[in-house]
Amino acid sequence: MRLKIILTLTLIAGLILAWNLRRIFLQVPDEANQGAIFRIIYFHVPAAITSFTGFYIGMFSAVGYLIKKDLRLDSIAASINEVSLAFASITLVTGSIWGRIIWGIWWTWDPRLTSYFVCLLIYFGYFMLRRAIEDPNARARLSAVLSIFACVDIVLVWKSIEWFRTQHPGPVLEIRGGGGMAPGMEAPLWWNFLALVMLAAALILIRTRQEAMKLEIDALRRHAHAF
């Protein structure tokens, strides 16, 4: 049953992405100022939104663990955070490549990219913490608290870096190239977002099952060593 869900999600996501690719390349006109590279937005922004939402849903799942003490919720939280981390990396890399064309250099501390980088660092720390703890309950507890701190902190990080950049202006990645996006250009963005969310869901389901397997292995090992 689960495998079927995963496969269906992946298939639909793949179809949407393929269809969209055609649309992005052939039907959407070049953006006035930025040219062809602008199309990277169709991956950059959906990946960003997916990972961001993922981190927050991961936090809610972690809070769920703290309330219910069900280790499955912890597995879900860890899986969501990991998949979100992968999407955040995609966001960062595509943003950097976008910047390479727009600004001529790979990185200039654009507020959005910088905040994302901080996000990445915080969640690297999250996984480092998880690896360092053996006991599954302690691991679940501590990483839950860490993800709560992280999600609250990210808002402050975003705001403060934004404010820092308004005082010390630097290059900023413009999504809306001067005014709103033309109506024809916005739709593929949301279709791609849907596809990425489905892909993320499929990956999360796979990872959650792997986490459950890990717990089972631990339990069996303890069972075996008890004799």
Binding site: V93, T94, I97, R100, L203, M213, L220
Partner: protein, 53 residues
């Protein structure tokens, strides 16, 4: 637009897909390792049970 522009657009798309594919591969590898480990531990438990009886 300039050819460099198009080149980088393809680099961008390639990079996005590459990261995704690498991540999926890492998941698949982990799956294999976990299954092997699970089978091994299950066998260990069974041998333990048999040895007891």
């Amino acid at each position: 637009m300039s050819p460099q522009n198009y080149n980088f657009m393809f680099y961008g798309f390639t990079a996005a897909w590459l990261i995704l594919i690498l991540y999926v591969i890492s998941i698949a590898l982990r799956e294999k390792k976990l299954r092997q480990e699970l089978d091994r531990v299950k066998r260990m438990v069974e041998e333990g049970e048999q040895a007891k009886h």
